[in-house]
Each structure stands twice: as structure tokens, then as C-alpha cells.
């Protein structure tokens, strides 16, 4: 599975949202109704899935589905 598909799957699992909602522009908090702790949990799930460490400073760079995919592509690329 490519990064994009895996990210979408994690977002669906963690936030309990439909695939159709998980578009690149979707903001985790505003559009997908995550709370601030959900966003931390999402980042931890990305870390586990992709075997990397995302520093606290970078948390802010992963506000939307698209940003998360871009960030992970950059780090893993």
C-alpha cells in the first residue's frame, strides 16, 4: 500500500469517518471533528505505521490529510 492509502486508512480508523470525507483539504479538527488529543493520537499512529519519529515541533505541520501525506512523503522519500 502506498503512503496515501495508508494515511487515509489510519484517519478513517482513528476518527471513524467515511472514505469520501478523507480528502486532501480535510482539516482534522475542523472538518473531521477530531479533538486536540485525537491529532496527537493520529501522529502516533503515523509514527507506528511508518516507523519514524515526528517531533512535537512538527505536529503543527500536519493539520490536514494532504499535509500529513506530504509530510510523510518528504520524510520517507
Amino acid at each position: 500500500m502506498d503512503i496515501e492509502a495508508k494515511v487515509k486508512q489510519i484517519v478513517m480508523d482513528k476518527l471513524g469517518v467515511e472514505e469520501a470525507q478523507v480528502v486532501p483539504a480535510a482539516n482534522f479538527i475542523e472538518d473531521l471533528r477530531a479533538d486536540s488529543l485525537d491529532t496527537v493520537e493520529l501522529v502516533m499512529a503515523f509514527e507506528d505505521e511508518f516507523g519514524l519519529t515526528i517531533p512535537d515541533e512538527d505536529q503543527e505541520r500536519l493539520r490536514t490529510v494532504g499535509q500529513a501525506i506530504d509530510y510523510l512523503k518528504e520524510k520517507l522519500g
Binding site: M44, D48, D56
Partner: protein, 330 residues
């Protein structure tokens, strides 16, 4: 060289009578029952009165633990109290508890490791017993954090409750199935500023400015601790399982520090432990710091959830930062 095994003889606990629930907190700070429940899983917490202090509950928890065991008061050879909110900066709360128990000619000292204090103290007690220096050690976790809480700060004041829990760690007889299998404690002082009581020590003694600036109360960067908490408890727990050739399915009960339901769920998820095996009482007590684990364990024993022979995993994290786990057959 290891000469003996240590085991848990018994547990006991004690909490203040006064209860503050989320609706009471709505009247104190700008918060809601819904926010507190969804972010933390908490509903009620017990709060010490103006005249009550740490040693009052530590003493009662100790009495309850002793009375639940076959150990006699005079058999106790060491008292260790884990606390960051003792009666006084000195003497130690352990010495005050010793006096209240009427025990003489035994050592007593406090351990400071934030919410991991009880786990740290158990690790120490285990060494004394395994090395044959003591047969029965009284280990107490007690915190009265509501007395060092900033009641204007909604980020922290909704999280804490008061109370104490105690355990008697004893030498295991050859015929005993109960034993502490292994312990692992750890720390990372470089992250100490995330959770700190800044004033009141030699760095910043009490002054008008320190009181006015609320620097004698708990300061916490909660969202940065959240991730650390899950990762660190996972790390020490996994290490214990690995080096004892046990797997998650061998564990009967996980008793995690009760700081936040979301942290507990995150840990269970990461460890792949079903929540049905995790002891949770956070909705009734909030975060009682070093007392959460012994209170939860005591309750689960009294409710006949935890039985003799069960494999239990205690795991905690806290100020320091500190963290650690205990693996035992109860």
C-alpha cells in the same frame, strides 16, 4: 546475587470523604462536564479538607494494608513513602507515618518521582527484600495535589484528586506462587520542565512574588506529556515482557497510572491489550498522582477482579520525567 523473591502480601487505600464532581468544577473555572469527560474520562475526585494532609491518608492506607495481611505491625522493617506533596518539605512523610503507626527502630524515607513514585518505591522495596535486608517493607503512594493546584487554571485543576494507597512487599516463601517477577524504572531529566512545581525549593524559595505568581502550584504542558506518557509506559512494559519471555496474552490485568482515560486507551491500543483487562477507576478519583496505582489495585483486589496467582502489570509515568513498570504474580 539474588537470594530471595519479593511478593505482594496485601494492598490498602484511603481517600478523603469530600467529593468534587465535574459540575462542581463548572462553578469554579470555565469548563464543562462534557469537556472533562471526553478529554480525560474523569467525573469525580476526592479532595482533602483544610485540616487534612498526606500522612493522614498514608497512615490509614497503611493500616488497611497491614490489617488485610498476615503481617504484624512489628514485622515491618522499612517504610517507603512515594510523594511530591508530603506534609512538609521535611521531615519526610515516611517518618511521620512511622510515628503514627507507633513503629520504632526502623528506617523510613520518601521517594520523589512524581506520579511514578509508587512504582519507583516498589522497585526499591524489591531490592531490600531480594537482598535479604528486610522481610516486610511498607510501601505507600500518597499525594494531595489539590493543595498545590492553581484553582484558576482550568488546564490543570480539573485533573487531580487526593488519596493514598499502600502495599506490603514481603519475602516470598518457597511455597509461594506470588512474587514480583521483574521491575523496570527509567527517567529523562531533560524534559523536567514539562511538569514542575517551580517555587518552594532552593531554586526559588517562597516569596511574595512566588505566591502572587502562583509558582507554588503545578505547571504542566499537558499535550506534550500526553505522547510521552503512552510511549514511555509502552517501552518499559514491553521491555519487561520481552526479558521475561512473556507475551501480552499472559497478562491478566494491566493497572496503569490513572492520569487520563485517553492515555490509558492509547497504551492499551499500542500494547494490543483489550480494555477488559485494564483496571480503570479514573472516573471516581481523577489523577491522584503516586496513589492511583495502589488505589486501583486495592479496589480490584477487593472487587475480586485480581486474584492470587494472576499476572499483573503496573505501569506509570510522571514528573521528572520518570516512568516504569512492575510485573508480578499477585
Amino acid at each position: 546475587m539474588l537470594s530471595f523473591h519479593a511478593k505482594f502480601s496485601s494492598f490498602g487505600s484511603s481517600v478523603p470523604k469530600k467529593i468534587l464532581n465535574n459540575f462542581d468544577l463548572e462553578k469554579i473555572v470555565d469548563t464543562t462536564d462534557e469537556w472533562i469527560r471526553t478529554r480525560t474520562g474523569m467525573f469525580e475526585r476526592h479532595i482533602a479538607s483544610e485540616t487534612e494532609a498526606a500522612s493522614d491518608f498514608a497512615h490509614q492506607a497503611a493500616v488497611n494494608a497491614i490489617e488485610s495481611s498476615n503481617v504484624k505491625y512489628k514485622d515491618i522493617e522499612l517504610i517507603i513513602v512515594a510523594t511530591i506533596s508530603g506534609d512538609h518539605p521535611f521531615p519526610s512523610t515516611a517518618c511521620i507515618v512511622q510515628k503514627k503507626l507507633g513503629l520504632k527502630n526502623i528506617p523510613a524515607f520518601d521517594v520523589s518521582a512524581g506520579c511514578t513514585g509508587f512504582v519507583y518505591a516498589l522497585d526499591v522495596a524489591r531490592q531490600y527484600v531480594e537482598n535479604g535486608i528486610a522481610k516486610h517493607v511498607l510501601v505507600i503512594g500518597v499525594d494531595i495535589l489539590t493543595k498545590i493546584t492553581n484553582w484558576k487554571d482550568r488546564n490543570t485543576c480539573v485533573l487531580f484528586g487526593d488519596g493514598s494507597g499502600a502495599a506490603i512487599v514481603s519475602r516470598a516463601e518457597a511455597s509461594d506462587i506470588s512474587r514480583i517477577i521483574d521491575t523496570k524504572i527509567d527517567a529523562d531529566g531533560s524534559q523536567g520542565d514539562l511538569l514542575i512545581q517551580q517555587a518552594g525549593g532552593s531554586r526559588m524559595p517562597a516569596s511574595h512574588a512566588s505566591v502572587d505568581g502562583n509558582l507554588h502550584t503545578v505547571y504542566m504542558e499537558g499535550n506534550r506529556i500526553f505522547k510521552n506518557a503512552i510511549k514511555s509506559m509502552y517501552a518499559s512494559s514491553e521491555e519487561l515482557l520481552r526479558r521475561n519471555n512473556l507475551s501480552v496474552s499472559d497478562i491478566d490485568w494491566v493497572i496503569p497510572h490513572q492520569a487520563n482515560m485517553r492515555i490509558i486507551e492509547g497504551l492499551a491500543d499500542k500494547m494490543r491489550v483489550p480494555m477488559s483487562k485494564v483496571i480503570v477507576n479514573i472516573e471516581k478519583y481523577g489523577n491522584t498522582s503516586s496513589a492511583t496505582i495502589p488505589i486501583a489495585t486495592d479496589e480490584a483486589i477487593r472487587n475480586k477482579k485480581i486474584r492470587r496467582g494472576d499476572i499483573i502489570l503496573l505501569t506509570s509515568f510522571g514528573a521528572g520525567l520518570t516512568w516504569g513498570s512492575i510485573l508480578a504474580r499477585y
